[in-house]
């Protein structure tokens, strides 16, 4: 009996071991998927797509549909009447369709759009509006809105050749996918339809282009600039009408603003590492450093300008914030009811200045609409004295190579990029349309706090927050790694720069070698 029981136990353990080891080994060599989540990782520092920020207010005044709208759309569609074109849930108002682009392709067929914004808030609802409005304009078009796309999913689609017609992308995806030949060039459509690209912000068109060809139409561009809490400035005796004009201003003012109680910081003047994207990318450029050679094959950021910029960030962190650990502790201590990070801290008057995205107006609207804020360009460092910087990014929609309904997809892109599409992009969110006319739509300007003062900075965007290169993801990760090593003082600025340059150069070499 005893022997039998022991034998069974031994068999159980052996079988269990085999049963566990077998699948695990299979997974280890790529056969299983359970180890990795299905959702794409949130790109570090990617701009929020406004999902959380949409002030619900509808436009205050409905603009009557213009009679000329009928001529802008085919007369064989009911939408030609124009007036109550869109679902009332969109904006509770009639939409002027006079600027809806005239279709060239036959307006019937099926379109598939993929994005990852969900279907319950901000950007996801805006996508639903765009899709519904397009189908209402052109009833013979059926559009499928796939809102839960992940990076793995679209990579698999591209690899298999069975692609959706339209894919929402982030700015740093454009060079990555563009250089790998996954995106359709739109230039022939643009010239065929004489499509005016000057209706968009310059930098939005630039980030929608790769290798001299337009490969996407902007959904919404975004910028990173200086935000100043005027109330704090007044409290500490600083001029609340002025944004910092130099890096010295940032350090001196920031030090004055930071406060402590019981040995712990209760307010920070400025935290160099708190940016929407890896901070070294921005601060190095703001001191005049270039990130790569013109041909995109060489890493060039290991320069004196970069050393000075990174050293400044380290010193500023020490002087203003008492060191990197304090910023981590402060961030952990100041999780607000709405969420965590400087995004939610700013409207709670916990930071005096920051280099952040235009979307920072959204939490101000929600938490502290009475807050006084001014925006400014980020000042140049000692090696770029007198210069000022605004860092651009954004999202866009591309037609993938191999799309089954490319002509029809282009018509949707035109709709997206039109003032009407641009209005829908903004109606439920705090996003700024890439279409300049739509961005200046009075209904949007009135609705969004701070829009009047931040919009001019969109015209001044002069750098990207990312490396416009096929290795942009590696570069971003490398900047994060380098930034942390510097702030944690694990290595000197020079050593960290040297190591990172080597890694980035290796990524360049690997990539370009694979292209030959």
């Amino acid at each position: 009996m005893f022997s039998n029981s022991a034998t069974q136990r031994r068999q159980f353990l052996k079988l269990g071991l085999i049963g566990t080891v077998g699948p695990v080994l299979l997974v280890a060599c790529g056969g299983g998927q359970s180890a990795a989540p299905t959702a794409a990782p949130a790109k570090a520092g990617a701009a929020p797509t406004t999902a959380a920020v949409a002030p619900a207010a509808a436009p205050t005044a409905a603009k009557p549909a213009q009679s000329s709208s009928a001529s802008a759309v085919p007369t064989n569609t009911p939408a030609a009447a124009g007036a109550q074109l869109l679902p009332t849930t969109t904006a509770e108002a009639a939409i002027d369709v006079s600027n809806v682009p005239k279709p060239v392709a036959p307006m019937s067929g099926e379109l598939v759009l993929w994005h990852d914004w969900g279907n319950t808030s901000g950007g996801g609802l805006a996508m639903i509006d765009l899709v519904n409005a397009f189908m209402k304009l052109y009833p013979n078009v059926k559009m499928t809105n796939v809102y839960d796309t992940s990076q793995q999913k679209y990579l698999a689609a591209i690899a298999s050749g069975n692609v959706p017609d339209l894919l929402k992308l982030n700015a740093f995806d454009i060079p990555t996918l563009g250089q790998r030949g996954a995106l359709m060039a739109l230039d022939s459509y643009i010239s065929r339809d004489n499509w005016d690209m000057k209706q968009y912000f310059d930098f939005a068109v630039q980030q929608c282009s790769w290798a001299g060809k337009v490969v996407a139409v902007t959904h919404h561009p975004d910028i990173r600039c200086v935000f100043v809490d005027q109330g704090i400035f007044s409290d500490v005796g600083l001029d609340p009408t002025k944004a910092p004009a130099s890096w010295d201003d940032i350090v001196n003012w920031g030090t004055k603003i930071s406060t402590q109680k019981g040995g712990r910081y209760t307010r920070f003047g400025y935290v160099p590492a708190w940016t929407a994207n890896p901070w070294p990318t921005q601060v190095m450029q703001a001191n005049g450093a270039t990130l790569m050679s013109d041909d995109g094959h060489k890493a060039t950021f290991n320069s004196d300008a970069s050393v000075a910029a990174l050293q400044w960030a380290l010193d500023a962190t020490d002087q203003i914030d008492g060191g990197y650990n304090n910023t981590v502790e402060f961030s952990a201590a100041n999780k607000t009811a709405q969420g965590s990070g400087d995004y939610w801290m700013f409207p709670h008057d916990l930071i005096g200045m920051c280099l952040e995205g235009n979307w920072f107006w959204a939490p101000v609207t929600i938490v502290n609409p009475g807050m006084k804020v001014i925006n400014g360009m980020f000042p140049g460092g000692p090696a770029a004295e007198g210069q000022q910087f605004v860092f651009g990014g954004g999202t866009m929609v591309s037609i993938l190579k191999g799309a089954k309904h490319a002509d029809l997809a282009w018509e949707w892109l035109k709709f997206l990029g039109s003032p009407v599409g641009g209005y829908l992009v903004q109606a439920r969110t705090s996003d700024v349309s890439g279409n300049i006319a739509a961005a200046n739509d009075p209904r949007i300007l009135d609705k969004n706090l701070g829009r009047q003062q931040i919009l001019p900075l969109f015209m001044k965007a002069n750098r990207f927050h990312y490396l416009a290169s096929p290795i942009s993801n590696q570069f971003d990760d490398e900047m994060t790694r380098m930034g942390q090593k510097i702030l944690l003082k694990q290595s000197s600025v020079k050593q960290a720069l040297t190591d990172s340059t080597k890694n980035v150069q290796k990524a360049f070499d690997d990539f370009w070698a694979s292209q030959t």
Binding site: R9, V24, G31, A36, A159, N325, E329, A332, D477, N503
Partner: protein, 315 residues
């Protein structure tokens, strides 16, 4: 021919000698047919990808373009020119060498405590086992809160006894110990295995030992531990394999940071495949991981011969 004869013929169908397949073959076919949903899935989603990954590991394969054969380049690069690879190996080995023993011993201690005859034992066992059933992203987020340096439960508990908590996930020196601490949450799974092992040890051995004057410690050392050796072997082997694949916590909470301190092997592999579009390199990494795990498992199997005691065999 009578109706009965016709019916009988019909019922029997074709005479035995004319059947194309035997009943045994028919049975086999039916078996395969019933198993086919699993077999087809296994073939399509496991066997073929595994075989494909062998090929890709020798290729430059950017996912959205065709793979190009580059021979051993991926493997050579991994061991000679990739500091992140070495870092990820170090971080993962740290978890294996430090984390597995801690988890194993913790599971055993809890199992020993829950092997006592006390009131409400089933409930207590359930309470200890339940956390192991919560895993993945939710668990990672929960621990993110528990380890908050300012108002997390763990930090506050330390504060109450006069210890200033570290920054946990924000400190390169503490991020891996934090993950080990997190791992203890799931120790209930090992505890159940230990309990099963403990309960299979015959009571008579302890009684005999006590009659001979053995202390409790001696009983544990000379009876419990040796008879638990097959269980120990199982727990250690599976824990080592699982630890080599640690991913979710780091992916959700730290992204591999700060400064690569939590860049574990599986996370780095994932980044190479889906962030950097280097599926060939990631495939090579997967096979290296496979080889590491296989060698370690074989080593453990070999070593097990000298310390694992299967009483039935010995008798």
């Amino acid at each position: 021919m009578s109706d009965t004869a016709i019916l009988a013929g019909t019922r029997r169908g074709v005479p035995e000698r004319k059947r194309r397949v035997s009943a045994r073959t028919e049975e086999r076919l039916a078996g395969f047919l019933f198993a086919s949903p699993f077999l087809v899935g296994l073939l399509l989603f496991t066997v073929i990808p595994v075989l494909a990954s062998i090929y890709y590991s020798f290729c430059n394969y950017p996912i959205i373009a065709s793979p190009k054969w580059i021979g051993l380049h991926n493997f050579v690069e991994m061991f000679t020119n990739d500091p992140q690879f070495i870092t990820s190996i170090y971080n993962t080995m740290y978890m294996v060498v430090i984390g597995v023993p801690i988890g194993t011993v913790s599971g055993l201690i809890i199992a020993l405590m829950l092997n006592q005859k006390v009131k409400g034992l089933a409930v207590i066992r359930t309470v200890y086992y339940m956390p192991s059933q919560f895993a993945g992203v939710a668990l990672a987020l929960l621990w993110g809160w528990l380890l908050n340096p300012q108002f997390g439960v763990v930090s506050n508990a330390l504060f109450l006894v006069g210890i200033k908590a570290p920054l946990w996930l924000g400190d390169p020196a503490w991020v891996k110990p934090s993950f080990i601490l997190m791992g203890l949450w799931g120790v209930g799974g090992a505890m159940i295995i230990w309990l099963a092992g403990l309960q299979s040890i015959p009571e008579s051995l302890y009684e005999a030992a006590h009659v001979d004057g053995a202390t409790s410690w001696l009983c544990f050392w000379k009876i419990t531990l040796p008879l638990l050796s097959p269980t120990t072997f199982f727990v250690v082997t599976t824990s080592v394999i699982a630890t080599f694949q640690i991913f979710t916590q780091a992916y959700v909470l730290t992204g591999g940071g700060p400064a690569d301190a939590s860049l574990f092997y599986a996370l780095y592999l994932f980044n190479e495949a889906f962030q950097y579009f280097r599926m060939g390199y990631a495939s090579a990494m997967a096979w290296v991981l496979f080889v590491i795990i296989m060698l370690l498992t074989l080593l453990q199997l070999k070593l097990a011969q000298s310390w694992v005691y299967y009483e039935a065999v010995k008798e």
